[in-house]
């Protein structure tokens, strides 16, 4: 009634992209830029240290954590699939597996840091390697923590039966973030443990 008079209004339904997905994609773009800067600093300072220790001397490849984190992406896809098909029990199961795998990854990182700080005496202020290593891996770990916290909130709601199939899109947005955290680990792992070591 109060619209602008038109001669040829398209009849097909007016579809727009999901704002949750667009916003998460934007956030991921911004976060990627932040990680790019930290990765660039890590690569730039490789081998420029005036004092030790060097990555080769002290770093071990975190196989367990990497396997857990990467496989968690697979389980979160199962969870997404479950909620879109309204299978709530399956959703809760796969969701909890994802959280568990993320937590194992975090535990693995904690173990690695404990060893480096307490036994190797490598801290963030020891040398360039320490500064760039803890910053980059720590930045990623903080993203894992944020992802886990958000997933735990969803998990709590799921246990109390408050998550419904209608929430599938929000779960999808969160899963998108988790996939990003995973993808960043592939880059960090390659840079720190493969190229840098």
């Amino acid at each position: 009634m109060s619209t602008i008079p038109l001669q040829h209004v398209e009849n097909e339904p007016w579809r727009l992209p999901s704002r949750g997905v667009v916003a998460m994609a934007s956030l991921i773009t911004a976060e990627s830029a932040i990680f790019t800067i930290f990765v660039a600093a890590y690569l730039y300072y490789l081998g420029r240290d005036v004092v030790g220790p060097t990555p080769r001397e002290v770093l071990e490849i975190p196989i367990l954590g990497t396997v857990c984190l990467l496989s968690s992406s697979f389980f979160i896809v199962l969870a997404e699939h479950a909620i879109t098909h309204a299978r709530m029990k399956a959703f809760t199961l796969w969701w909890s597996v994802t959280i568990l795998l993320g937590a194992i990854f975090l535990g693995d990182t904690a173990r690695e840091w404990y060893k480096l700080i307490v036994h190797v005496h490598l801290t963030i202020s020891t040398n360039l390697f320490g500064t760039t290593f803890y910053s980059l891996v720590g930045l990623h770990a903080s993203h894992v923590i944020i992802g886990l916290l958000m997933m735990l909130v969803v998990f709590a709601f799921a246990l109390t039966g408050k998550v419904e199939p209608a929430h599938a899109e929000r779960v999808k947005v969160l899963a998108l973030y988790w996939h990003f955290v995973d993808a960043v680990w592939v880059v960090v792992f390659t840079v720190v443990y493969l190229i840098g070591r």
């Binding site: 602008i4 008079p5 704002r19 934007s26 773009t29 830029a33 963030i124 360039l128 910053s135």
Partner: protein
């Protein structure tokens, strides 16, 4: 004013739209303040952004005047060396982060939902969060005047220049906390900027009214989407670099610690990866205003809409590959210098396309010289000059002479004042009636415009010359035998003329708010959706969701016999 366009019932906007605005009764003083603090309405947040920025514009303007007084004669002792260094650091930081970005985001906030026919931004609460965290950043920066201790151990406020080159910012050379205030406040306002950028992208792509396909979005929302993309990929690196600086200063890290093998160049790279795209973050909204204002006052559709969109996207991508033209003297290889010379020159192609499209829009029109149009015309003229000095600075070999001289200062003020501030004034004259329901006074507007133009050219045309005569920037005084004295006196005098112009404008804003002529919904006889609703718009914007079939829905409405759609 254009209110007399015959035959179109625009006052109540589109037929059937409620003409009377639901007038909320004013509460107590405290209730009014409370309503502004807790608001999530994009229009109120837009006004908050704009007011916040205008206050800091005055603060940074006063800082500029103090700088100009100090430099007006050689060996001046008006302010101390320490104070001077603080003044130019704060002036630059304030103008970019507390004036430029907020005022542009403010207009975006206010206008984008109205122009795309939406009732609010995609994420209203994120919007409020972004504003308040940015505001926190700004207040924190100015709190440093009380809380920080400077390079010399006696002062306050950051004194490391707005690009804050390492290792000057490291603990060894900047004891005290001024650099910390600088870094933390920019991280805070950076988070706000990223939040707003996400919001704008989601709004433009997901909140459009029916019929508004990508190629029918007005150019202002389009350009804001491009700006938001640049913010995402350019402001984030700054946030990352600031985090590294804080790791150095508080955790004993070595990112920029040259004693431990760290690099001074790395900061320069990181800063300019942000710093150069930032210029386009500021200037693209100015282009966006011009894209809306110039057609309306030329009475013609924008020339080459697809080319305008493509040029903006091209600017966004090219701008990400030019940063090292700020570093031609830092010791890059000749190949690196050549590469960044070429990439920088490439920017002039899309910006040239824009300039020529504005010219073509004016060409064949019936130009009305209202105040917003006057500022827009001055903008085109000044932007051409700024672009040409920009090309001169991209000539890396010549840049060895002009870099860090007053030639550079003149160039970027030509962009920031001559293009951006002029377009902000144009936008304020153009949209103030929509925001407040009152027209700004036209006679005062003309005074403002002419004084501003005269002051601007006295200051910034002259300022190029001391740069070519060897005067470096950021010096608190200079030797009398260098022959820079008279020129600096002229530059300072022009600054004060601009200050008078701005004061007239401030008076006009206040005066017209109470006494201004009532605007009506569509005072300029314009064509985009924001002019279809009353001024000021109701909280819900549109009584019912609009549907459009072209880029200029109100043109279609006013000229049913000559619709746009077949020509687009």
């Amino acid at each position: 004013m254009g209110t007399d366009t015959p035959g179109i019932p625009i006052g109540g906007g589109i037929e059937g739209l409620d003409r009377t605005r639901p007038h909320t009764t004013r509460g107590t003083y405290l209730e009014v303040v409370h309503s502004w603090v807790v608001t999530v309405d994009h229009k109120k947040l837009g006004i908050l952004y704009i007011s916040y920025a205008l206050i800091f514009l005055l603060v940074a303007g006063v800082e500029a005047l103090l700088i100009r007084i100090q430099l007006s004669i050689p060996h001046n002792t008006f302010v101390s060396a320490a104070s001077f260094n603080r003044l130019f650091t704060m002036h630059g930081t304030t103008m970019v982060f507390l004036v430029g970005m907020p005022i542009l985001f403010g207009f975006g906030n206010y206008l984008i939902p109205l122009m795309i026919g939406a009732r609010d931004m995609a994420f209203p609460r994120l919007n409020a969060f972004s504003f308040w965290i940015s505001a926190f950043g700004g207040i924190l920066l100015y709190y440093s005047f009380i809380g920080g201790v400077g390079l010399s151990g006696t002062g306050s406020a950051p004194d490391v220049a707005w690009f804050a080159y390492a290792p000057l910012t490291e603990k060894a050379f900047s004891p005290g906390h001024t650099v910390d205030y600088w870094a933390v406040s920019l991280i805070a306002s950076g988070i706000g900027s990223i939040g707003t950028a996400i919001n704008i992208l989601a709004t433009v792509f997901c909140m459009r009214c029916k019929g508004m396909t990508l190629m029918r979005i007005p150019l202002l929302p389009w350009l804001y989407a491009v700006v938001s993309f640049i913010v995402l990929v350019a402001v984030s690196p700054l946030t990352a670099a600031q985090a590294m600086l804080m790791i150095d200063r508080y955790l004993g890290g070595h990112f920029f610690d040259t004693q431990a093998g760290g690099s001074a160049i790395l900061w320069a790279h990181f800063f300019w990866i942000f710093g150069h795209p930032e210029v386009y973050v500021l200037v693209l909204p100015a282009f966006a205003f011009a894209n809306e204002i110039i057609p309306v006052f030329s009475r013609k559709a924008i020339f080459g809409y697809p080319a305008m969109v493509a040029a903006s996207v091209a600017i966004a991508f090219i701008s990400l590959g030019v940063w090292a033209h700020h570093m031609f003297t830092i010791g890059m290889t000749s190949f690196g210098n050549a590469f960044f010379t070429l990439s920088t020159m490439l920017v002039s192609i899309p910006t040239g396309i824009k300039t020529f499209n504005w010219l073509a829009t004016i060409w064949g029109g019936k130009i009305r010289f209202e105040t917003p149009m006057l500022f827009s015309i001055a903008f085109i003229f000044q932007f051409v000059i700024a672009g040409l000095t920009g090309i001169m600075l991209s000539i890396s070999a010549w840049n060895w002479q002009t870099h860090n001289s007053y030639f550079v200062v003149a160039h970027f003020h030509y962009v920031l004042v001559g293009a951006i501030v002029f377009m902000i004034f144009a936008a304020l004259y153009y949209w103030y009636p929509k925001i407040t329901g009152r027209m700004l006074d036209d006679r005062l507007g003309k005074w403002h415009f002419w004084l501003m133009v005269i002051g601007f050219h006295i200051t910034f045309d002259t300022m190029h010359i001391p740069g070519l005569l060897g005067m470096p920037r950021q010096i608190y005084t200079y030797e009398a035998d260098r022959g820079w004295g008279t020129l600096n006196m002229i530059v300072s005098a022009g600054g004060f003329i601009q200050a008078i112009a701005v004061l007239i404008f401030v008076y006009n804003m206040v005066h017209s708010y109470f006494r201004g002529e009532t605007a009506g919904a569509d005072p300029w006889d314009a064509w985009t959706l924001e002019w279809s609703v009353p001024s000021p718009p109701p909280v819900y914007n549109f009584a019912s969701d609009p549907v459009v079939s072209s880029r200029r829905p109100l043109w279609d409405l006013k000229h049913p016999e000559d619709q746009d759609a077949p020509y687009e």
